[in-house]
Symmetry: D2
Subunit: 337 residues, 4 copies
């Protein structure tokens, strides 16, 4: 940690800061420049709240120089991590595809879609059983019944399954049915949930919060990894901006940035990231072009009849058309699909 004093900081003010640092068990190196004093703080400052010092009289700024994350950081693990779910590898040369409906709606619906997903060469099935909805009066998902249907449909087609849990209480039922547990955007900072997931031996798909910074996303992943579970895949799914044409603004630049900061796989969700069906394929292409390790896509045989998020759900033929475009783009970034 470095503390930069104001240009006009008085000797007393500087002394107060130094004393507080010493009190808290740190060593202090004082450096007097042409215009101001800079204090270098020696010791483990990971848990220091910078603001504690910034509100002191005469302090210009406190800066943390050590990374707030350890386990997720590429500094400490330079090579890419690969997370395996069934036949799918996230983080390898091949781009990982995940597809399925927004919600599991019935045994038959998920069966049909699973068969289609399989046919396209996609090996991981998505589908929501517990649906987070803004209004209490909207469809809230089939719950455990939905998970059961999805498991059956996946098993019939040799697919693996990823589905979202809403809080700690949903974990036990989910463990029976799913191969990968999704943490939704609204739960990215549900720390009680993250800690619990850290204890599991099950891959986690962690979505970025709607207005979360990348640093906060990495800290959320650190929560899971700190518990011992290192199989975490990060997912960019759009952030809130002023723009209203799209539901969210898919932050494509998050992909190359995250790939630099962390060894964890990074995928993109252009369905939620745009909220508009005809924007899904362009943004899927852009994601792969920017270096995404995979995509998660909503697809349905009849999006107009979907019980949730139909407007952002692809028709079967659109999904297949998109895959053929992605194959070309993958070659431009030395990947396969």
């Amino acid at each position: 940690m470095i503390i930069i004093m104001d240009e006009k900081a008085s000797p007393d003010q500087i002394q107060s800061v130094v004393e507080r640092l010493l009190d808290n068990g740190f060593d202090v190196h004082r450096s007097t420049g042409a215009t101001q004093v800079v204090l270098g703080v020696v010791g483990d400052t990971h848990n220091v709240d910078l603001r504690d010092y910034e509100v002191m009289d005469g302090v210009h700024e406190a800066i943390r120089i050590t990374d707030p994350v350890k386990l997720v950081s590429r500094t400490f693990k330079p090579e890419n991590s690969i997370v395996k779910v069934g036949k799918v590898e996230f983080g390898g040369n091949k781009i990982a595809m995940v597809a399925g409906p927004c919600s599991v709606e019935s045994r038959q619906q998920i069966k049909d879609i699973a068969a289609f997903v399989k046919k396209t060469g996609t090996h991981l099935l998505r589908g929501g059983a517990y649906k987070p909805r803004s209004s209490p009066y909207s469809f809230q998902g089939l719950g455990e019944e939905g998970l059961k249907y999805m498991r059956e449909a996946a098993d019939e087609n040799g697919l693996a399954v990823v589905s979202e849990v809403m809080d700690r209480m949903d974990i036990i039922p989910a463990l029976k049915y799913v191969d990968m547990i999704q943490v939704g955007a609204r739960n990215m900072q549900n720390f009680a949930l993250l800690k619990e997931l850290g204890k599991l031996n099950k891959p986690i798909l962690l979505k970025r919060g709607m207005s979360a910074t990348l640093k906060e996303l990495l800290q959320a992943a650190e929560y899971i990894m700190a518990g011992g579970n290192h199989d975490v895949v990060l997912c960019e799914r759009g952030i809130r901006t002023f723009e209203n044409y799209t539901r969210n603004t898919l932050d494509i630049s998050a992909i190359p940035i995250l790939k630099k900061l962390t060894h964890l796989p990074v995928i993109s969700d252009p369905s939620h990231g745009t909220g508009i069906r005809d924007k899904v394929a362009p943004m899927a292409r852009a994601s792969v072009a920017a270096g995404a390790d995979g995509l998660i896509i909503e697809v349905h045989y009849d999006p107009e009849k979907a019980m949730s998020d139909g407007a952002q759900t692809l028709y079967y033929e659109q999904y297949e058309q998109m895959l053929s475009e992605l194959k070309i783009i993958a070659t431009a970034v030395n990947r396969t699909l």
Copy 2:
């Protein structure tokens, strides 16, 4: 719901939209203007996803004309709701004060602070037992032990207690100790939690999410009220903006807007809303001047030693000074303190 067609929408496109509406059980009134066709949709459209129609060819915009919320809306209950917690009334003429430390740190700490809070005429004690922290390596609170200490301290001083729960699993222990349950900003859209709180007979303090719109805050409150619990107090606590001098930007205008949209009490949290000690009093004054029904303030006998959020915590004398300023401002808005 109203559907506005594009100026160039073809008769076929219009027909498709009409048919889909009829299919879904609605009646349709078609109105042909000078430039475009507008479809009035008759029936209960509460659960329609507007985007389902907006992605159809030839549709310019779909607009919901009925309110997404019912129970929270002032339209349906014009008079102010009053929520009672111990001796405190939120939503009455008297401005409700809540004060205490960020975290319960020890039996002695919360005792001392409770005695001070009582002395100032404040009757509701705040304090965190489960702390949501961005880093897994930071102090995470004393848990149930903390709630117990807080209850003791409150009882000794005739105070009521408000404290935050992190998810559904924390509710049972909290019920034993607290008089009002707080939902933190990160949990504003934890719908599983909100539904559970809706079943309780215990007042809820619902904080606005960091990047939530006011409509989303009202929908979150609707979740609780739809379950049968009508004792909800809303709390503005700062939103994320580009500005970095403050931790958040306290949205003072949310206060008069919420007061118009809902009958529920609205309070302000200038401690989290600014994150900086010397900005707490100015923003507390501003909140009352703008019509807040109450304030929740972090106070500690030694903020420099606080285990969390010390930088935004008031010294005792600052809290007392602030109260004396607020008394004057209250008169300007025909309130008492």
Copy 3:
């Protein structure tokens, strides 16, 4: 325009709104639904401020159903517009490339870079003569001298030139030297400038403001076109978000959205959009994959010595490498480069 009344709006409130509308020369069609009254307003409402009605008692919402823009809208001109600048066509099948330094620094510098740009098959040279800098103490550009050097360098290499003007007073000198005038992000709503540019017979490159919505960008273009100048190219260059790893967040989704809303060409500026050299190529690839009609890229023989924006400027070999990747991606979207 449609005015939706509150569910509890009184007959008097409705009457007041109707009378105001009639007073203002509109016809009103009143439609009484199950829950509320909706007023359809007939007449030219382009210049009505919706808020004038929204603040009236009993009004729930006022909605404009006609597009605020005309000339830029694809509704009124379905086919793509092509804007020609020298040998370059924006909006055709071939992706248009623009490259050059951030600032013109000297006669020799721009000569060297122009020769390189030419060699890569790029035909339009960028370079700033008037530099908008946040600090008054930073390098402010060479002014007209810079434009002269750039013209010379371009002529020697058979290139066309695009450069930014800062306000109306810069137009006259710029006309002598440049083939396309750039409006910077900070000037997107400099309406006096836009009006003046509307009178010219010179293509305009209009950059999106840092926190502008796409609707505002289209309205800015409408200002230019309303004056008679229809040669406008739109440029996405990054918006301000909470994320600080990048200077801005390049909004790739703006590309397919704009392409749907307007017939004007849409290009992307990944240099300003990211502010970081090694993020430029990934975001350039993503832009083309999402359907951009062109790219504007900062390139310099020695970015480390560049007088401005060196951190986001490509080395020569990086630009060439990027072009070869883009060629592959262009085929995936049926374009050429």
Copy 4:
């Protein structure tokens, strides 16, 4: 400037950074900590672009430790600056009031309003002659004619006049008629304009840009002061956020923050800051409660007939009622009105 190297930075990477710093004429102090190397840079780094170093391999972060502003900073001028315009003092104990219509609409309109303004004890008249409007088809103001009417109306009532210029070309006509020149939010970073205003001997009212940080606002003020004109008043007028109930979100916390960072007077514009008439008074009260040095308010004898911004314009009686509330609040912050 301080440069913090990555924990894993190689000796070669560190050497490259050191060499570049020396090349650029700086001295370097190298400090090797437990985990990483920190380079202290000695010399005038005001014009260094931090990103130039941040993109170098092995660099974690570059931090400017000197203030980017000088003349506006309270560090260098601790006592409040007072800016006088006619009988009005901005920055003194008395809260400065500015009032008038959004636009000058006619000779008679501005006369009537000036007389009212005078009657309330307000001494500075606002009114727009050049109007920045999002749509080219909206009323654009009366231009110089409007300034003339406003001058006449002010002279008849012994008032001073503040009005906005749109760019450098409007300055000459404005100088004849106005006592204070306003820079609008959209022009906060119109650097050509700011430089020109810096040469004048006329007070400037500088509005914060719609998505500008406070640092950027201070840098804009520095532009004016660097030219020699020290009579600058800053104005908070609302920032763009996700919230749509209000036109903008008035950032009340900007007031106490700016008052700490700069000696310049700081006023608030609750009319533009909310865009809604019945929110103006609550936010005016909040502004004064938070420490504003003044307010600028839109007022009109018939807001419903106003040619622009009627929805945010107060009726005469509302303005008078607001003044009486503000008088009480002023006493709570030891001010007068």
